[in-house]
């Protein structure tokens, strides 16, 4: 139930970011300066936290999505769905600790 709620919420968040992300990338067709200026907005410390949150949503949606596929297509999927949810959450923590350390030290570490 809560994994289902989480899947929906993260899905919607990712979808709206995707719309914005295609639009900001499209600025490469306006001018190099326009693109570099807008991309610069992604490089401030507050946005670094936002990016980490977005990646947290993506990684949860990805791992839980693979779990849904396993439940649907694997013979024993339904039986082990609970164990797989804990695996999803465990992997999510590991990946996010790694990503946060790397991304935040790059983004906040100055340049």
């Amino acid at each position: 139930m809560w994994s289902w709620v989480g899947h929906r919420i993260t899905g919607v968040v990712i979808f709206f970011f995707l719309l914005v992300h295609v639009l900001d990338t499209s600025l490469v067709r306006v001018s190099p300066e326009a693109y570099t200026a807008v991309i610069g907005a992604y490089k401030n410390p507050l946005m670094a936290l936002g990016e980490t949150g977005l990646v947290a949503a993506i990684v949860f949606h990805a791992f839980n999505g693979l779990r849904i596929i396993a439940v649907d297509f694997w013979k024993k999927g339904a039986k082990y769905q609970r164990q797989m949810l804990w695996t999803v959450l465990g992997l999510w923590v590991v990946v996010m600790v790694g990503f946060s350390i790397r991304h935040l030290s790059l983004a906040l570490g100055g340049h």
Binding site: R8, G11, V12, I14, F15, L18, L19, V22, L23, T25, S26, V28, R29, S31, P32, E33, Y35, T36, I39, Y42, K43, A48, E51, V55, I58, A62, G65, L66, I68, I69, D72, F73, F99, R102, H103, L106, A107, H111
Partner: protein, 164 residues
């Protein structure tokens, strides 16, 4: 007290006529004018999902985790990637699959939570319009990208132009 269960808003209920030999349950899995669209949509979510995990994890690794990470991203970074048809195809596949996957997800959510027929219709019109615009725009941007943009005969600063 009797509870009424609404028929699913996805797909169309079948109308088996008496004596036609067709069963008349309201919740048939196939049939109706939409054919097996909902089943194909269900399958597409799973197939595109697996591919998107690979495409997006690769995208995040190359753009955020390698080298200087996010600080390396600017016009030149995009120009460098799209000089290679491999990354053009990667980004194109990611654009189309992610947009269709996301649009189908939001369509499901609209069907679930918007109760009025008119509300569902309008939300979906807005959704499909946005999807169409974003997919066409993104595809054009990938294939018409010019590393050396020129405006009014003058090279724009920041571009990568061949030496004259």
């Amino acid at each position: 007290m009797t509870a009424t269960i609404q028929s699913p808003r996805s797909g169309k209920p079948s109308s088996g006529k008496p004596g036609s030999g067709k069963i008349q349950p309201k919740y048939r899995r196939t049939g109706g004018s939409k054919g097996n669209f909902e089943m194909l949509a269900w399958l597409f979510m799973r197939l595109s999902g697996v591919v998107l995990v690979v495409l997006i994890f690769g995208h995040l690794t190359v753009n955020l985790l390698v080298g200087e990470g996010i600080h390396a991203i600017d016009f030149g970074f995009v120009a460098g990637k799209w000089a290679d048809p491999f990354w053009q195809f990667w980004d194109l596949a990611m654009l189309w699959l992610a947009m269709l996957h996301g649009t189908n997800g939001v369509r499901t959510i609209i069907n679930d939570y918007a109760e009025k027929d008119a509300t569902r219709l309008w939300l979906k019109i807005v959704l499909y319009a946005a999807t169409t615009v974003i997919i066409i725009l993104g595809t054009l941007v990938i294939f018409t990208f010019n590393p050396c943009p020129v405006a009014n005969g003058v090279q724009l600063p920041g571009g990568f132009c061949p030496a004259p």
